[in-house]
Amino acid sequence: MVDLFSDSVQPEISQETGTEFGAFTGSSVRSNRSIILTAQFENLDRVREFVAESAEECGLEPAAVYAVQLAVDEAYTNIIEHAYGGESLEQIECTCRMVGGDLEVTLIDCGKPFDPSLVPEPNLKAELEEREVGGIGLYFIYQLMDEVQFSFMKNLELGKNCNLLRMIKHKEK
């Protein structure tokens, strides 16, 4: 498993606006962009725009770009609500890479460990009165992205344990 941040330049952190940077990490990777934003819902617009730019650059169809935006929105919201227990000035890093024509999006936070297996699956067929929306965000992430992987590991640079969510959207052939 990769060491977080190990293959990229640590960006300067700005809580107000976030920071975007580019890095060259190898011939198979055409582009690698990151943004660091605070764990606040007002930043959802910014992170959705950020991933949309990368998805478009990657050549994804408009419907796939929207799917990536929705998955990232749900993941970012989950981090704020569950890893950080609500809005705060803690940080969330989002990185987009194009790998072999596919788009890889990673989200890193250093909040509470997140175990997706503990989230109950939503009942999509329940009657109205029994219908709950909890768990739909995670369900969307799995449905909208082609590969989804959650891990919790030591971030060598920050010296603490962080959640790493890695998602891949394939470019339609």
């Binding site: 819902f41 007002e42 959802l44 617009d45 959705r48 419907a63 929207y66 935006q69 929705l70 929105d73 749900e74 919201t77 704020i80 609500e81 939503p122 999509l124 067929k125 109205l128 009165e129 219908r131 929306v133 739909i136 965000g137 369900y139 969307f140 449905q143 909208l144």
Partner: protein
């Protein structure tokens, strides 16, 4: 996101535009709660100009539909739902829980 409510004799129309996410959904929830809180339960939600909706928006729709349909006193119906928003509703299994109309006029007439 902008929310524009209009009150008619037999129903309420709420027009939403822009992006419904965890930052803006509370504003939509409040507009709908204001209507149901004053005893009006027949509501048309016009989603024509909505560009994005996450599960935070779905939560508002389902909670409003529960309130409106209780005691058979009314209903929340959806008008002019853009394809991407409809796809998300379908993915969440919400389609059977709402009536959909191609335009506001038909939606208002259905209540």
């Amino acid at each position: 996101m902008d929310v524009t409510p209009s009150q008619y004799r037999h129903c309420d129309l709420v027009k939403v535009s822009g992006r419904i996410d965890s930052a803006t959904a509370p504003q939509l929830a409040k507009a709908l709660d204001d209507i149901t809180g004053s005893g009006r339960f027949k509501v048309v939600l016009d989603l024509d100009e909505v560009e994005f909706m996450s599960s935070a928006g779905l939560r508002v729709l389902i909670s409003t539909q529960k309130t409106c349909k209780r005691y058979n006193r009314g209903e929340l119906v959806l008008a002019s739902v853009p394809k991407r928003i409809y796809d998300a509703l379908e993915l969440a299994g919400f389609v059977p829980l709402f009536r959909f109309f191609d335009n506001v006029l038909d939606a208002v007439g259905s209540l």
